[in-house]
């Protein structure tokens, strides 16, 4: 899921090579300058469109976007809960 998360971040933020040096501990909010509100929305939208799932605004918190790892765990939980249905 980390690789898929990095690939979404790369597409949404247009980071080029930089995304490939990101690890699970890399901070996003406040850590990556490009990570503005448009980027937050674009990441959520990309998750919804890529996996065909719906993400409720209530599910999203600042912690979700704290690091690359926290975002990867969030995507994993969303994808898992949608395939259970």
């Amino acid at each position: 899921m980390l690789a898929e998360t990095l690939s979404i971040l790369d597409r949404v933020l247009s980071l080029g090579e930089r995304a490939q040096h990101f690890t699970a501990d890399t901070p996003l909010l406040g850590g990556v300058a490009e990570f503005d509100s448009m980027a937050v929305v674009a990441v959520i939208t990309a998750i919804e469109e890529d996996y065909g799932i719906a993400v409720a605004d209530d599910d999203v918190s600042a912690e979700t976007f704290e690091t690359v790892g926290s975002l990867a765990r969030f995507i994993e939980s969303k994808v898992d809960s949608s395939s259970d249905e």
Binding site: R11, S14, S37, M38, V40, A42, I44, G52, D57
Partner: protein, 273 residues
Amino acid sequence: MTVVRRPAFLETPRGRLFMLELAVPDRQSPPRGTAVIVPAFAEEMNRSRRTCVLLAERLAQSGYRALLFDLSGTGDSDGAFEDARLAHWRDDVAQVADHARADGTEGIIWVGLRFGALLAAEAAMAADTRALVLWQPAIEGATVISQFRRLATAAKLVSKRDQAPNTAVQPVQEIAGYALAQTLATDLAELRLASTLESCVWPLAWFEMTSRADQTLSPAATRVLKTLPASPGARIHAQAIEGPAFWSTTEISVSDALVQATTDFVTEADGVA
């Protein structure tokens, strides 16, 4: 070949509508056709401008005339975003189509990006159409609005303010510098791509940007494409292209691959490849 860019204003009941026409003037032969590029919604329009211009230039170099324009209440067109209504935007698109036809163009090539795909598809149904190209189309107007509203929630995450977001529905809501009228939001929520495309009878291209290595279409796109009835003339080209989500990237990005694939589709649909 030098592409000439000609800015113009169309007079509408709402004021002046800004339009930019790109073409390579040629006294020997008229343009092969006219492409109308329908822009995305709000901030996505700003961020995607460069790729839209790139497409217009590429089409002009291929012998077409390309028209870019700003919907009423956006960009360089008259009006305030707060006063924009779906009916106005539909009329804007119709005005641009009339302008295109006034020069003797037969069959418009419609290109719509994101929200603009919903408007372009509607226009394609109404007007004399040669082909329809959808770029990462919004499938439902309701999603466009909910994603846009999300910007307000996201802004609070980014600024780390902890007061609860104001989710009460107001007549006008300020989001990312745009005054979104509830009336506009309600109107847009009615738009559905699948029902508009039901009677598509011309070549249709559906392009998506992806970061997936297997370059497959999103589940949502696959679902809509499955519902389209097979009809004579409706040749459907669906393709996922590796590259940035250029309508939302913080740093302005472009997709040359998308522009080229679109130009190839348009010329092939015309049989002038």
